[in-house]
Symmetry: C2
Amino acid sequence: MPRARVPTGPPLSRRAEICRTAAQIFRERGYDATSVSDIARALGITKAGLYHYFESKEALLFEITAYGLDRVRDDVIVPVRAVRDPEERLRQLVVRHACIATNGRGAVAQLVDEVRALPPGNRRQLEERMRAYFDLVRGTLRELNAAGRLRDVDPTVATFSLIGAILWLPRWFRQSGRLTQEQVAEQIADIALGGLLRENGTARRTPARRAAPRRRPAGSRRTKVRSTK
Amino acid sequence: MPRARVPTGPPLSRRAEICRTAAQIFRERGYDATSVSDIARALGITKAGLYHYFESKEALLFEITAYGLDRVRDDVIVPVRAVRDPEERLRQLVVRHACIATNGRGAVAQLVDEVRALPPGNRRQLEERMRAYFDLVRGTLRELNAAGRLRDVDPTVATFSLIGAILWLPRWFRQSGRLTQEQVAEQIADIALGGLLRENGTARRTPARRAAPRRRPAGSRRTKVRSTK
């Protein structure tokens, strides 16, 4: 199995670097199949050196997941709460969350299921934060519904479907692929808003934004298919 | 952690019963964290008894995943291939796949990521079958596009988003919840077709089907939120 690569980007604190590397390895091999030694080896440090920062593999998983939720809070929840129009809020929410799910930290989004490995208290804490995000999305759909702008769809089913489509992104999106993360995020927002809103919506994406140039000609597509079932 | 329950239904062969129980335990605890002893204990048999049917935990995972792909082949791919109109094909495809993802076998759909634990040959075999399914979905979208019936969306992004929304289902759908699996499946198809097709489509769901009665009054909702990030 290939060794996890640390994505390039701005310099990270040692602690953040450990989290990022560990997240990549957890994603590739699975949390349970990864040992503290595997993570230390990928970082080029000793196990004792790793324990200086994190007392256990569980503590590392907890911090990684909490970090992912911090990103969702700072880059999605806080900015979109300031958007009054629910349709524009929905669009920004999808685009912002999809961008987080596809950037270097995308590995975090794939660790959703691994929280089962955490002690109940930690697990509950993370699940409450996930629940708050879910409520924000569903609340926006309910607001649209009350305003007669939602199609005849169930807001709960729609919320889970939308979040599922976004959280599936890191399983297939490749930074080296045909589309940029912003393009993919806009596409998912287009599909979601098209599926959820009545046609007379007011904040639909303009044709000019739709026609954004692609990074590469269509023939040189490199999007990889990894898991489709 | 609760012991895995074997869902009720028609009698299963011993082999199928082992697969079903193992799939449930893998889903609850994770594949790597589950031992052969855990599975044997849940079945009330000895480890030796289990090895009579499967030579290893990997063999069990392979058979479970292949079984899930067989269901997709028999209950989705084969019937929808016979549907000539691509819009009706897309609707049937979504409804049929969503129903599989939420029935007693739903546990299988959650094991997508665990195929990384299999030997390369087995893994490749399963991934090729997943790829064939992906190609069927994307091919249908491309056919719609060629007929001018697809919105201005990227068929690849749309395919992954759709499959992601369906494969997210077992993470949140509860058989004891407010909506039946058929209702949820129809809802997802409505959202998907609304998001992907131009408004002048011809095979949209009729109002009569939209107004299908709910199993329970809206006030008694029991859909549980499990993982939302």
